[in-house]
Symmetry: C4
Subunit: 286 residues, 4 copies
């Protein structure tokens, strides 16, 4: 009653398909939870297998095992995909949805790699082999907590966009200056490369494969560093401020049962608008 | 009515010039928006062209195309500049303004490069070629959202200035120490260079082209890192605090229609000063 | 009376063991403080000795002294451990506790290294020698102030967990892309290594032992940097927001002596719930 | 009247010495301001001279000029020091104060370098030459704005201390692990060096002169990076929270003229404690 975000729908009487649906898409039933846990394990292990497959000496020594595991997971995820297709009300919408695409992408490459005679072009095969690793994205479905962050990001998206544009403009300006000052002989062979270098510097990554060698270049890059060092404060500031608001909004989102107005302090006992008694708050959960 | 920042002026009857003015300088009319979108595209593409021009193999193979595109954009921006000049009330003020200078700088180099016989001194030409890339600055005009950030920066400018002075003093102190301890044989050939190195370290960029080799030097640089690592908190802290205030100020900037005082909480229904009924708040937009 | 967290228990009449217990586990008695200070010194010096022992020329020249010191500290900590065992009410609980394990680990390796004929396998010995340095963990017991941070971390633990999962997923995605684009010939020999590289990049550490060399690779890594550069804002934001709340909670945790409700503003003079006079606040200590 | 921090003392009738005192130590009189501006310039230029002196080719070509400038500044600062000594009430206190020591240190080395026959030991000379650069510290006197930051740092000092202890303990643990895993053959020649490397990594500086080469080492260092990447949030969080409080405290530090209680909201018109009319607030200056 005092919770604001409504839980999943509570069906009264449901067909076998709806039951299956709730098991596979929902969290509520024990069966659904077992299914999800199992799936998470499957995803993690399959990703691990794909990683190991890219390590030469493992790929050479354990090829049969890896291939077997690979196919086992592919078939498993195929089954999952088909079942999901079967038990959703709106099939096409699921297929078009982010998760639908991810689910499909996580099985497609294996079949493509199987049907394409890849002996002659290894690149395609390598790409397909690697693409399967994006199965990891299937995990996103379970990052429930990410909502608060996502909402914050969305609230701050325009500020963040502006911030990125500014960073790019800054990088262009500093990059061109460095290209002009240092020139090709010191590794700044073109403006795009200088801009890449500037991004490496402004984000304080600093690989050191290209470093300014003229005095003027070092002064300019010192300026670039200090700029980057201080503007890193901007996204942090934006996000912190937004996040603080978001969290507070969550915390004080108590509705008055009478006038249904929200926004009462955590310790208010009466609605400040109509004087109605307020329901007790749960200990602020986070 | 509940919005605080007034939109652009609404002219009743206007001459052709004022119409043009609103089209070119304003956002309101559809024509104005089409013009701005077109201009943004032109700027981005011209900058892209200039970048590609700096890549050797592209410059060699596609010289004629790049030159053509370059001149097309130069003429286009020249026309824009002239029109802006034509339709502003106060010409000289526009010329002196930031945007006026940027607009001029974005066309000048091309003409200079054209009229200077640059065969004998390539540096000038390269500089001019590069300078044109600062056309990117013309985009700043469209970073409307940047206002909040700018205002925040302005509010915090003195603190940020102090912060930078402190960083520079710190760098001088650490740099001199490192120069004293490591000396020229380990790459710290002069105090300015040591200071450059210290900035590279304090900002946690860490190129690694110069690294301390004596034990004492490594201890000092570890101190420098920890210092930089913790004082990076200062600008973030300043900006976050300022930004949070700024955002809150925006949020609660509701004026009482009667006593015209501002600063009411978002859910207040009566002016806390005179009891006048307050206008309803719009859902806090950001 | 206005303090909320109760200090350690005040025993009326206590046996010699309880006295010893309070001396060794508590802070209250002067004896207890002397003991703790002594212990902190012992820990720091023993850790220093272990560090020096790992420096070759010191290990060679001062071996007897180091060994002597080492055994002195081992015996000292053994005595401490036995005494703690003797004077705790619930021995088994202490042994199982974090500090109990740390105390045991800080003496065990020395004895193991003594009883294992280590001439033939140096690795074990080196490991045991190094493990003793974790005596430093005994210091954790004295980071009393860390509580606020710990509590904050705990409050934000799920958000932080989500954040880390996101970072890992991001790293997997970017890493696989880089492996696909750059391939083994540029140092991205396997997906795990590419992921390692991506973490090095996203955290803006940027060693520079592996750097992207293709244009596409540089674009992707620039994206990765900007991502890391901006998502570093997320943990900061989370923690700051939580911390601000935590500190405020501490600050305004004043209880009304009548209705025992908490959460009065720092300058309230009457309980907002029952009107009872509130005790004066101490100057907000931090 | 509504200002809380009292300005400098207002003398009624003062001797020549007090006048001089106010000129040299104070900001109020125009003469004092001229003196300070002059001094700031002198400090900056003298520091610049000292920097240039450390650049070989400059030192060789312009030795006489540099020496002349150096002595000019030395004498100037000597004069300043003597005058300050002359016109302070409590001489000994000034000499012992931070600024007194800095003022002395900024002239001493020149004289020492002059009186020591330094031909035979260049190190001393180089040290003395470098030490003079700490004249830059004389600037600290003019970072008035730094007070807010300093106060914040002081308020958060214990938290920051705890934070640093934690970082050091973490570095010791990770460093020892890396020393154990990677060993001397990969550059981790001793535990202190490994700890230095860990600090370089945790602070995300990442020089890249030493990099982990075993798989296990790379996993451990990835953990170290993520740790550092997330605990960098801690000092930021602490400082931001403290700073926000500090700034708010400043903003709302309005005193009631009647009951002299402080802490009224910025838009309160009556003292919430005694109902007395409050003085109008100045627009919150920062």
């Amino acid at each position: 009653m005092s919770s604001t975000k409504p839980n999943a729908e509570r069906p009264q009487s449901e067909t076998r398909r709806q039951k299956l649906n709730r098991t596979i898409f929902g969290w509520e039933t024990p069966a659904g939870q077992r299914f999800d846990v199992l799936l998470i394990w499957a995803i993690c292990i399959s990703v691990l297998v794909l990683m190991l497959e890219s390590v030469d000496w493992i790929a050479i020594n354990y090829r049969p095992w890896l291939r077997a595991a690979e196919w086992a997971f592919t078939l498993m995820f195929t089954a999952e995909y088909l079942v999901r297709l079967y038990c959703t009300e709106n099939r096409w919408q699921y297929v078009k949805s982010f998760y639908g695409i991810v689910d499909l992408l996580s099985i497609l490459p294996s079949y493509l790699a199987f049907f394409i005679p890849g002996a002659n072009n290894l690149l395609i095969i390598r790409m397909l082999r690697v693409l399967r690793i994006f199965r990891i994205l299937k995990l996103v479905r379970y990052l429930g907590e990410a909502n608060l962050l996502m909402r914050t990001m969305l609230l701050a998206r325009r500020k963040i966009l502006v911030f990125f544009s500014s960073v790019l403009i800054l990088s262009t300006v500093f990059g061109s200056l460095m290209y002009m000052v240092e020139g090709a002989e010191h590794g700044f062979t073109s403006i795009p490369k200088s801009i890449y270098w500037t991004i490496v510097t402004i984000t304080t990554v600093g690989y050191g494969d290209i470093v300014p060698q003229t005095v003027l270049g070092q002064i300019i890059s010192a300026l670039a560093m200090l700029t980057g060092y201080s503007i890193i404060a901007v996204p942090t500031g934006i996000l912190t401020a937004e996040l603080a608001q978001e969290m507070q909004r969550e915390r004080v989102s108590r509705h008055c049962p009478n006038c249904t107005r929200a926004g009462h302090e955590g310790d208010a006992v009466h609605c400040k608008h109509c004087g109605e008694q307020l329901p007790a708050t749960a200990p602020s959960v986070k």
